[in-house]
C-alpha cells in the first residue's frame, strides 16, 4: 500500500466519522518496538518506529485503522547477507458489537517491505473477535484474536494457519479524553513453500509493542 493510499484511508475514516456523527472518535500516536522473525534462527530482526491509529465508533459499529512504520535491523549484525529494511504495515478492520463487551471484526492486513527482497511482503484478510472492557472512567482494555486468511506472500507460498493476538490497555485522568496507551500485538503466519517437490515450513512471526498517547472525543 502506497503512502498516499494509507493517508487516504485514514482521512476517509475520519471523514466517515464526522459525517455520520460519530459517537466516539479516537486518534493516537505511538512509539513502537518490534521483533520480526522468518524461517528459523537465521532471520531475526528487531527495531522500532512510529505508529498511528484512528478508531471510530458509531452505534454498534466501529472502524479501526492502524499504520505502523518500523525500521528493522538484524539481531545478529555480523551476518553480511542480512540487511536492514523498513516495514510498513496497514491494518484496517470493521467491527460490529454483538453483545455488550464483545464484537466481531473483519478487515485486512497489509505489510510492505523496502527493499522488497529483504523480507516477505504479506497481504491477508482478517476475521476475529474483540473484547473491549471499560475498566473504570478513563481506563479500558482491549483483547483481540483474529484468523488471518488467504495470506499472500511476495516470495510465494501459502499459510493455512495465520493468526494474530493483541492486548491493549489505556489509562487517562478524569474521563480519559487524553490517555496513555500500550498495545502488544503478536502475528504468526504458518507459511509453507514447496521446493523441488518438497514442502517446506517457513513460518513468519512478529511482535510489536506500541506505547503512545491517544485523544478521544
Amino acid at each position: 500500500m502506497s503512502r498516499a493510499a494509507r493517508a487516504a484511508l485514514v482521512a476517509a475514516s475520519l471523514a466517515i466519522a464526522s459525517v455520520a456523527g460519530a459517537q466516539q472518535l479516537s486518534v493516537g500516536l505511538a512509539a513502537a518496538g518490534a521483533s520480526y522473525r522468518e524461517q528459523g534462527s537465521s532471520l531475526r530482526f528487531q527495531g522500532g518506529g512510529l505508529a498511528a491509529h484512528a478508531d471510530v465508533v458509531w452505534r454498534r459499529f466501529g472502524l479501526r485503522a492502524l499504520v505502523s512504520r518500523l525500521g528493522l535491523e538484524p539481531e545478529d549484525g555480523t551476518r553480511p547477507t542480512l540487511e536492514r529494511f523498513d516495514l510498513t504495515q496497514a491494518d484496517v478492520a470493521l467491527r460490529a458489537r454483538v453483545v455488550r463487551e464483545f464484537s466481531v471484526e473483519a478487515g485486512f492486513v497489509r505489510r510492505a517491505v523496502a527493499p522488497a527482497d529483504a523480507a516477505q511482503e504479506v497481504g491477508a484478510a482478517r476475521v476475529g473477535v474483540v473484547a473491549d472492557y471499560a475498566l473504570a472512567p478513563g481506563a479500558s482494555l482491549v483483547a483481540r484474536a483474529g484468523y488471518l486468511a488467504g495470506a499472500r506472500f511476495s516470495g510465494g507460498g501459502s499459510a493455512p494457519l495465520g493468526a494474530d493476538l493483541a492486548l491493549g490497555a489505556s489509562y487517562g485522568p478524569g474521563r480519559g479524553r487524553i490517555r496513555g496507551t500500550a498495545d502488544f500485538e503478536f502475528q504468526h503466519f504458518g507459511r509453507r513453500t514447496t521446493t523441488a517437490g518438497h514442502r517446506l515450513d517457513v513460518p513468519i512471526q512478529s511482535t510489536v509493542l506500541r506505547l503512545g498517547v491517544a485523544f478521544a472525543r
Partner: protein, 346 residues
Amino acid sequence: MIARASRLLTILTAAMLLPAALAAQKNATLRRAVDAYGSLEYGAAVSGAKAALRERLSAADQVRAYEILGFGYAALDSARQATEAFKQLLLLDPGRELDPTRISPKITSLFALALGQVLVVRQFALDSASFVAGRGDVPLRVAVTRAARVTVRLSGAGGDVDLGSALVDGGTTVRWNGLMANGLPAATGSYRAIVEASAGRERYDASFPLRVRAGAVDTVVHLTSLPGYSPMPETVVPPRSWRPFAIAGIAAAAIAGGTMALESTQLRGARRELSVGVGTTLVVGLLATAKRPAPVRAEANVRYNALLREQLARRNAEIAGENAQRRKQVMLTVLPLSQPAAGGAK
C-alpha cells in the same frame, strides 16, 4: 298601692331606657312629647306624639313618635292602643327590638303582642360570600313575624331570578346559586333582593340591596413535581472492587498463553514485547481498581422515575382539563350593602 308602684316602676324604666337620641328630635312637637314622657307626664306625651304624627315627620321621627305613643299607652294601661302604636312602629321599622332585660315586661309583652298581629319581614341576613356561579351558592336568611307565604326574587343589572316561594313560620333560608333566569351567571352590578310576604289579605314587601362582582375563577398551577415524591438518581456509583484488575489479569493471561501457544518452535518468541505489554495491562488494571468506578444505571430507580413522570404527566393533564373548565366559569362575590331596607305593607 302595689298596682301604683308597679305602674310607676314601668314608667320609670321606660323613661330611663328611651334612647338618648329621642332627646334630639327635629320636630318641636315631638320634642315636647319626649320631654313630657321624660317628666312622667304620659298623658301629655301621648297627646304630643299623636299631634306630632299629624305633622310632616321624617321616617326616623315617625318611628320615635310611635314609640313614645306605644310606651305612653302602655304606661296608661291602654293595651289596645299601645299594641296598635307598636304595630305601626314595626311596619316602619320591622327590625325593631326591645331589650327584655331592661324594659318592663308589661311593655315588652305588648310589643310581642303587636309582633304577632302584624306581618313584616323582620330579618334579612346575607353574609359576604364568594363562589363559582352554578356550583356554589349563597344563603339568604329571611324571617317574618307570622306564618306567611314568602317569595324571594333577585333583580338588578344582570336581570331577574326567582329564588322560590314557601310557606314560612318564623325564619327560612333561601339559596342563590349565582345564575339568573336566563341560566347565565349574574353580571357585575347592584341588585336588590325583593322579599314578598303574604298571609290572607295582608301583604308586606321589602327589598334589600346587595352588590355582585363577577370575575374569573383562578386556575390551578401545573405541577413540576409530585408533593412528597422526589426523583431518584438514575445512576449510582458502585463500590470499588478488584474486578478491573481481575479482568486485566485474565485478559493478559489469555493473550500471553495464546501467544506462547502460537509461537513457532523454530522461531521462538521475543518475550520482551510480551512482558512489557502484559505488565502495562496489569498496571492499568490496578490503577482502574483504585479509581472511582463509573456510575452505572440503576434500573429500579429508572423505572421509579418513569412512573413518577407518568403520574406527573397524568396529574398535569387533569389540571389542564380542570383549568379548561375553570376558564369557562365565573366567580361571584356577593356583598350585602348597609343601605336600610325599604319595605311596606299593602
